[in-house]
Symmetry: D2
Subunit: 339 residues, 4 copies
């Protein structure tokens, strides 16, 4: 076995605990040495639950520890860019949850620091590691369906987040669609040039009052001519709905939802199967493990991570393009955002 990678975890909220449990208990290639959280009780709780040797309030304690080779950044979104810069300056390899930041200049500063320090950075677009989407990407990349022509992504949450969260989320395109923007790039392997976004408030008027929408339909036009469509809803009563379809000159690949079991009951009223796995924790468990395995391997084998800093930046640009398109009710070039 290769030597374990010594890791520090920054942030012990929901996603931090998820990564913490995986690093401590399910990834033998990782050695989780410490966890920090500005709410020190959260760090201590995680340390006890997952058997992590050290718990701090100040993430600097992690960055200052020479034994720690890499950090996993799960702090609040607005701190990601700063944490990346500090970690890079401390010479640590970095796994950072998405998005890097909602301000492109901040993202660029962070990516600059990473480049300068020569450390590795992987951004947490975990869905790329989902066995279903991964298989779809492989089918497309293999040429099995020929040249891709059309892309369809359905991405619906089982329930909206609290309004307080909505208010600081940056809006549906930067908070929710951002994952689908990454998926759109991943599946087609090319860049989007133009975005047209429409949508409305259909789930909860309070979301509208918070200045956001809850239902959206986004059209993508790629440089290579592919056209794509993403639909989002904050509330699918039947559970987390995560499907994609790529149609090409030689065929189509479609991936559907995962279910907790395959049982099908037929009775006098119909044929009934299980609902999809409830939400991202259930659906994407394997992908969270796989992305972390990939990050550790990239560090250990000195390879470019599977999801780079640029992969973290572009979906933010796409989010702004979608927002501008929705506001101005017209298709928007991604190049307009960069200006």
């Amino acid at each position: 076995m290769t030597k374990q990678l010594n890791i520090g975890l920054i942030g012990a909220g929901r996603i931090g605990r998820l990564h913490g449990e995986h690093l401590a208990q399910r990834l033998p290639e990782a050695n989780l040495l410490a966890v920090s959280d500005i709410f020190v009780e959260a760090a201590q709780r995680a340390a006890v639950d997952f058997g992590i040797p050290a718990a701090y309030q100040d993430h600097r304690r992690i960055l200052d520890d020479p034994a720690i080779e890499a950090v996993v950044i799960c702090s609040s979104t607005d701190t990601h860019a700063r944490m990346i810069i500090e970690s890079a300056e401390a010479g640590k390899h970095i796994f950072c949850e998405k998005p890097i930041h909602l301000d492109l200049a901040e993202i660029d500063r962070a990516l600059g620091a990473v480049k300068e320090a020569g450390v590795k950075l992987q951004v947490g677009f975990n869905r790329r590691f989902d066995p279903n989407f991964k298989r779809a990407q492989e089918v497309v990349a293999s040429g099995q369906i020929g040249e891709p022509h059309l892309l369809r992504i359905t991405s619906r949450d089982p329930e909206p987040p609290p309004i307080a969260y909505i208010e600081v989320s940056g809006g549906i395109f930067l908070d929710m669609t951002i994952h689908d923007f990454d998926m759109a790039r991943f599946l087609i392997g090319d860049e989007v040039e133009e975005i047209y976004a429409t949508g409305g408030v259909m789930v909860d008027p309070a979301i509208g009052e918070a200045g956001d929408i809850d239902t959206a339909l986004i059209t993508l036009r790629y440089r290579n001519g592919v056209i794509g469509s993403i639909d989002n809803s904050r509330k699918a009563v039947y559970g987390y709905d995560q499907r994609v379809e790529v149609f090409g000159s030689e065929g189509v690949v479609i991936v559907g939802n995962d279910k907790p079991n395959t049982a099908v009951v037929s009775d006098s009223t119909g044929v009934h199967g299980a609902l999809p796995l409830f939400f991202f924790v259930e659906r994407y468990t394997e992908s969270y493990l796989a992305e972390m395995r990939a990050f550790i391997a990239a560090v250990q084998e000195d390879r470019t991570p599977a999801v780079t800093g640029l992969d973290g930046r572009i979906p933010v640009v796409m989010g702004y393009a979608a927002k501008k398109s929705f506001d101005e009710r017209r298709p928007v070039q991604l190049s307009e955002i960069e200006d």
Copy 2:
């Protein structure tokens, strides 16, 4: 049994023969007395094949026959409006293949003649009678999925028509998407206000040279706020791909393709099932029968036909809006077309 309806068939091309066979052999409520075609051999051939008593070159012979109560118009598209007017003036009830005409003024003249004559007109949007789409519409209308939020239509042909046909077709939006525009209205039960269309030439450069595109993605915004998406391709190598999905506040209904058999073979390379039924004749056989049954019943029972003249007109308006949107690369209001 109610008295049979005496019918004359105008046009004995592919779709004319299909209706002719149904009227002569599979619809006991119909009495097909005559068939006409400007290529009189086609009329004669149909008469022999399906046992139709009379075959004419001139459709006037049908209109002049007082025994004939209703006509089924399957002549070339450019003659539909004129045939409707003549048939209405002759006091015949009318079933007319879509589209009525590609010129809105002509359509309005035809609908005016129908109104004046007080005859019934049903337009041949047969897909409404397909058991799958019909069931989807029933589910939506019943409220089972709550308020509709999103609509997705996938509509792909197995192979493009000849270039000669493409050249006179009016373009993909008026020739192919027109069926999906009807489906979009049928499923949601409300009117579309705005259309945004994008697409390209991906299947065959010759289609582009003929001034058309072969792949399209159309976004619909309804008066009631629903947003919808239609994707089209002139060539799906795996066969006719006709699926719809309506997502609402209380659930989702999805309908898929029909297949020639349910056999699934698993071998060492994978799990393999049959391709969808090849094209519209195979997939929509039942719907062609059902629409004709509905037309005959509407005449016999003096009811409004299931697909009215207005239902024939609106998808043409939508086709023009899609064309204008594609040409001008911006969302277009349907009201812009009417001006």
Copy 3:
């Protein structure tokens, strides 16, 4: 077009009317000249409904008509053998509903008469013509799944017949399983040597009081070593359940039920699809048409029918073996029945 085959229909009960409608309205290669039924009103009703020129009480009127080339026998089961003999002696080709008779000596007499007269006889095992089972048979015969090892047939009715019918039916093995015995021979293309049958009264005690069982599980051992299993129930509340599976050295083929539509609704309680088509009339419509087409073609082209007299006889032997096995609670050789 080949000359139409002139046909007379003997028996105008449920299955007679079904064949009558097909012959009169959906099979242009057939010319249905007359119908007979000992209840002459039934014959007259069918004649009016389907436009059959002549209706008789006495089937001899059909046999005596020199214009009639073939008969379709749908009279009551106990008269089948006699009708076959009379029809053969009259020189008519014969399509006969199954079973030929429940007495093997009677069957042999009928088959002898057919042979002597040199006419064609097809027995109405229509399921062989079902697109699903036909495809399964083709897959097996093509060698795609290698050497067959195991067969599974599930065959369950949506509801039991009236007790009065049960009492004269010959019992579940000769009335219901007989179709599955034919399917078992058809799919494997080899003969069964030994049968073990078990079962019980689970659906309705009245069926037990009538001396029959309503639920059965039958094990088959073929000459070539294949082993098979058939399960039957007189009542599946979810509808007609007709599935088969053949497992072999290189794979497995599984066919499932047909459904009225492909609509799937997901709501907060689960994922819901349509029930199977209700019963044999709905499920096997196409197969009834196809078997009749095959019979007419066999006569017109002077070929051996797809389901021969022997194919009609062997399932009866199997039915007796199953009955004996159930009664004696031991596996029974088919050769024991012949002695």
Copy 4:
């Protein structure tokens, strides 16, 4: 968190390593203190790989350790009963892989020792914890499908074990069908009274030369009248095939295979999906975790384990009944085995 249960692992072969990894890394409620194997290198290898503090050749070292509260027995089958007796005498709670022993008298001695010592014993019928089968059992137990009438189990391995293994396996009924016998009891919740087994050598003549068969079909008759059927093959080229179906008065529940992904590719040759997960390690991972969680909880909460010693004994009786039935070509009562 409840106090962790201190566990010793006896046997570090394939299944021992699987449990060892789970106990050491994925079950925080377990504290795996030691591993033993008569091949001490295997124990040492496992200790290094999974971070187990102690590795011994002699399992007595584990039984003598007062800190260890429970043992997990994964040694060779012929030693299970002895290990159970020694462990019970040492006052350890016991999880033991199936089968307990192939000699009923040995099983009874082991169960007697367990009873006398008052320790808990859970037998490793892990499939009961598979989410699919568990759901099927819940559906049946809930009454959702009414009274059960028929049971069908399909259980096929992707490839046969080595001939050397076959020779000492006790034969297909005691080695392979034994799992299905447990499943048959679990799903119906009642006892089998009579078994009829048939089968043959279809996969590999060497299996026949070793005195065993490789393909089997077993009929079960339960005390409560339910009839069931199990089919087995040692080689399904398409992978591990593990399906069950329970049919009852109010409906049917069917569970199918799990697949590595939901991707479906349609191209010009057909519609293609992934094969089932390859074999038991892939398919039943979750069930191995779940059964161990259940065992630990049963000990911690002083409850009867989910799979008792009797549940370990009865499938062995059923295996002998199947063997006797196959040898004597007749249905065999389970009571015949006990005499």
